[in-house]
Subunit: 324 residues, 2 copies
């Protein structure tokens, strides 16, 4: 049988990235409580997490800074107010969306910024723009990833073409992003095969960013580990858009590298995440997200259902089936 | 790669069993609202579910009927008040626990009872008693299953011995019960291999009953389908002890036999399960269950934590780690 997770051992090459602030920020428009980000930073240090993504470098001409918390924009000075000089082994990442980031101006050279890594998020049809952003960030000294979103709605041959183009760039990691939470583990395995076919030739690493629409975010991440994927995204208590992400506490409970320590994650969830939930911030598996996941649709209808406080799931079923 | 779920096709041999009343009854001591069971019966009929488990045949000398709802005991007349004569394709099952069921008296011949199947639940060290119960039920005309609990805490060689003993009986299905929610999919695959090794020789089928401590109940069930497991337990919205079970809505969304229909499940959850949750009936993934799952412990400490309304997860972590 296939050794999915090499359960009793571990690979030094496996890296865990905490995306709580970035994907979780999509739930609350980045309005986190005052001490949330700095406490999370400390928890990540204690937990042995490898990378921490603090938010987006969003274009202030497109997004009104009045309407979002500061991690939507991740100004360098604001980040320094959280992490200081970050003289630690925890590397700091920021996400830049194709078409939504004024990267030439807003991303400063690495040696002048608190960040170590720029993650470029793109759909498969905007790869040329992503390539330009990757080259810009790499030239400024950053580690780079390219996060290809909505993989479940793309064609395998287009993915190959995209991967070949990305592999000509300095990008270090190419991420499979299951934006719709549509995949089962065996489908992840097939997608990884396609990615590995191209990426291995060029020495590029592969990453996994899962969503929990079908309660598969953790299972798909475990599958990916066994398939040779090295960069693993997770969030505390799965906090993230819609159905949320792979839970950090589950992931650190599974990985066997003794550098990882689960307790700080649990402590942070008790002290900082559960209070958010009690205040009414909502994410996680629910029927509306399951339905868009199964139908391989963008979760926007499900997110709207949640925001409107609806609980007429049967009516929603009829709506999305009619949409399909 | 391994075809886990044969995703585009389906097997006629796959059977879905709804365990909502039985495993869900462990959450609320079987005090379901008046119309809950009959509405669930109707939903299962519409959804194409193959078997419906209504509860336990518990010994009234051991369990006080004042302290539990009627589905703890499943008196034949009470069941008939829910399902009438059940002139349908939906087969009805009841669970009998080794040591907790006065089966010789309380289980009546199949042709005098509303039930079609008796499911005998046992630990691996009480197999001889389970064998007697299976033979009794089979002699009374029932289909039988044997549900071996806490598989993750047993030794493979003991499982082989247990399976060889069970395979000498008329039992039709032998269930892998991941009582502690401790397994990852690849471990399920190994356990199924062991079970298949013995069971295939005797023409016995294998079943899967998963718990969601690590958000793996559905993923482990999908894994089991791909490994040739034919009987699949699920519950509406995962309702079940502790972290709950594999969710029926997810399972029917994955299986491709057109006889299964997801809408009645969603409709029932909206109208009957979500109101229970609003009334404060609690089950499902949470950190305390994750911890006992990872530690391969019985969830009783986690269930107590939940019942006491505690939210000091970090303290609980210290308690269970010290217990281990």
């Amino acid at each position: 049988m296939k050794e999915l997770s090499k359960l009793m051992g571990y690979s030094e090459n496996t890296k865990v990235l905490d995306a709580t602030l970035r994907d979780g920020g999509l739930v609350n428009d980045f309005f986190f409580p005052e001490d949330f980000a700095s406490a999370l930073y400390k928890a990540n240090l204690k937990a042995g997490v490898d990378y921490m993504e603090l938010g987006y470098k969003a274009n202030k001409e497109l997004f009104d800074p009045e309407k979002f918390g500061p991690l939507k924009f991740c100004d360098d000075d604001y980040i320094r107010s959280i992490v200081g000089d970050n003289m630690t082994d925890l590397k700091l990442a920021v996400m830049a969306d194709v078409g939504r980031c004024n990267y030439k101006e807003d991303i400063h050279p690495r040696n002048e910024s608190p960040f170590d890594m720029v993650r470029v998020a793109t759909y498969v049809n905007t790869i040329p723009a992503a390539v330009d952003m990757i080259e810009d960030a790499a030239a400024k000294g950053y580690e780079t990833t390219c996060n290809i979103m909505a993989i479940s709605s793309g064609q395998q041959e287009n993915h190959r073409i995209a991967l070949e183009a990305l592999c000509q760039t300095p990008v270090e990691v190419i991420y499979i992003v299951d934006s719709y939470g549509a995949f089962y583990p065996e489908q992840i395995s097939r997608v990884v095969d396609t990615f590995m076919d191209v990426c291995a030739k060029y020495g590029k690493k592969i990453g996994m960013h899962a969503h929990n629409n079908q309660q598969m975010a953790f299972a798909n991440t475990v599958e990916a580990v066994g398939d040779g994927v090295e960069f693993l995204d997770a969030t505390y208590a799965g906090m993230g858009r819609g159905a949320g992400n792979c839970s950090m506490e589950l992931l650190l409970g599974m990985l066997h590298n003794p550098k990882y320590y689960q307790f700080p994650v649990i402590d942070f969830i008790e002290k900082h995440i559960n209070p958010l939930k009690k205040q009414g911030v909502v994410w996680g598996y629910d029927l509306q997200y399951m339905l868009t996941g199964i139908l391989n649709q963008h979760p926007r209808t499900a997110i709207a259902f949640t925001k409107e406080g609806r609980d007429d799931y049967a009516a929603f079923y009829k709506e999305v089936v009619a949409l399909d």
